[in-house]
């Protein structure tokens, strides 16, 4: 008898727990609050932005040469190629801005409206007006075409709403 009661309580609890997000979405609306996994728990090696990939390649080429695996000719060719790639990636990322490196030059004006400055889901609005990637974490930013303007999720083709946060996709 006791067991049956325990079983029913267990079932009721589980059903409530599972269905709660549907009936009372506002309670859990913020959803997915993973414990402190922003960017600081992550390995830089897990960054796959073109910039990071090209930079890592350059490092590796240098190291391979230092350990004698690359001949000078191969080294030069690879070096040139990946330096060019890295530069392209850097330029694409923040055209002519050195602000982040030099630190907080007079608190960047965080815009109230969401239009003029692109927003990183983790690091907030970016100081660079036309940034495509976040200069903190290298993540793709909201305004890029094909990505949700609110949360930065890659959108389905022809989507009218973001499937992650539900925001309407600008036409």
């Amino acid at each position: 008898m006791l067991e049956l009661v325990a079983g029913i309580l267990l079932a009721a609890g589980a059903v409530y727990f599972v269905l709660r997000p549907i009936f009372r979405p506002q309670l859990t609306g913020n959803g997915n609050r993973e414990p402190g996994n922003g960017s600081d728990g992550e390995d830089p090696e897990d960054d796959f932005s073109p910039r990071a990939v090209a930079l890592r390649a350059l490092k590796e080429i240098e190291f391979d040469r230092a350990t004698g695996k690359l001949s000078d000719a191969d080294y030069d060719a690879l070096k040139n190629r990946y330096t060019a790639e890295a530069l392209t990636a850097l330029r694409a990322e923040r055209p002519g801005s050195e602000k982040r490196e030099t630190g907080n030059v007079a608190a960047p004006p965080f815009p109230v409206s969401r239009v003029p400055f692109p927003v990183c889901p983790t690091h907030g609005p970016r100081p660079e007006a036309d940034a495509v990637f976040c200069s903190e974490c290298g993540r793709r930013l909201a305004t890029a075409p094909g990505y949700c303007a609110r949360c930065g999720t890659a959108l389905e083709r022809d989507a009218h709403y973001c499937h992650s946060c539900g925001a309407r996709v600008a036409a």
Binding site: L55, R56, L58, K59, E60, A77, A84, L87, E98, E101
Partner: protein
């Protein structure tokens, strides 16, 4: 050595009897000592005391003493090619020397020994078993007919895939290769400031 004592009755000893007993026991000890030294070198089958176990049933099925045929390299080689039919998935030799509860593998071993004693060679004995039980008695299928596929399909598949892979890689490499060293002007396009920034980024990456 066996020692017997007489506990019955009184102990009557005269001098002569005492001496006889003393000499006898001395000789006995010497004899048994010699006996012991004789025994210790290497296995002398059939010697040594071997008392009965308290409960032999606990030690499993009663076994026969090991014979030279059991350790014979030729017999062993034959048995390693034969599959025990008791359902253990082992070869006859491994089964009979591992699972001592199995009665199938010792019987098959007997048969092998018998056939060998009749003067049959290894392949003949194996043929005899195949005739009797079918090819499943062999640990590995004979290399003929469809079984060849069993042996060679994996290797051939790997070789074929290797050849295809080499060709594909060569084509990939060729389509990607056409720029020997044209990149220098490209990279030179970076302004000193940009290069400096790149440097900064690189220094932050640890390798």
């Amino acid at each position: 050595m066996t020692v017997t004592r007489r506990h019955d009755g009184e102990l009557h000893l005269n001098r002569r009897a005492f001496l006889t007993l003393g000499a006898g026991s001395f000789l006995g000890v010497v004899a048994s000592w010699r006996h012991a030294t004789l025994q210790s070198p290497d296995s002398l089958p059939g010697t040594g005391p071997s008392g009965r176990l308290w409960d032999p049933a606990r030690a499993g099925r009663p076994l026969e003493p090991v014979t030279t045929a059991d350790n014979d390299a030729v017999i062993r080689a034959i048995e390693k090619q034969l599959h025990c039919t008791c359902g253990c998935n082992l070869d006859v030799y491994t089964c009979r020397t591992t699972d001592f509860t199995c009665t199938v593998s010792p019987a098959m071993h007997e048969q092998v020994v018998d056939l060998a004693a009749q003067g049959m060679t290894g392949p003949q004995i194996i043929d005899q078993f195949v005739r009797q039980h079918g090819v499943a008695i062999l640990m590995a299928p004979p290399k003929r007919g469809f079984n060849l596929a069993g042996y060679f399909v994996p290797s051939l598949a790997i070789i074929a895939a290797g050849v295809v892979l080499t060709l594909v890689l060569r084509r990939w490499a060729r389509t990607a290769a056409p720029d020997p060293v044209p990149a220098r002007p490209l990279a030179a396009a970076g302004t000193p400031e940009e290069l400096e920034r790149l440097r900064g980024e690189l220094d932050r990456l640890s390798v």
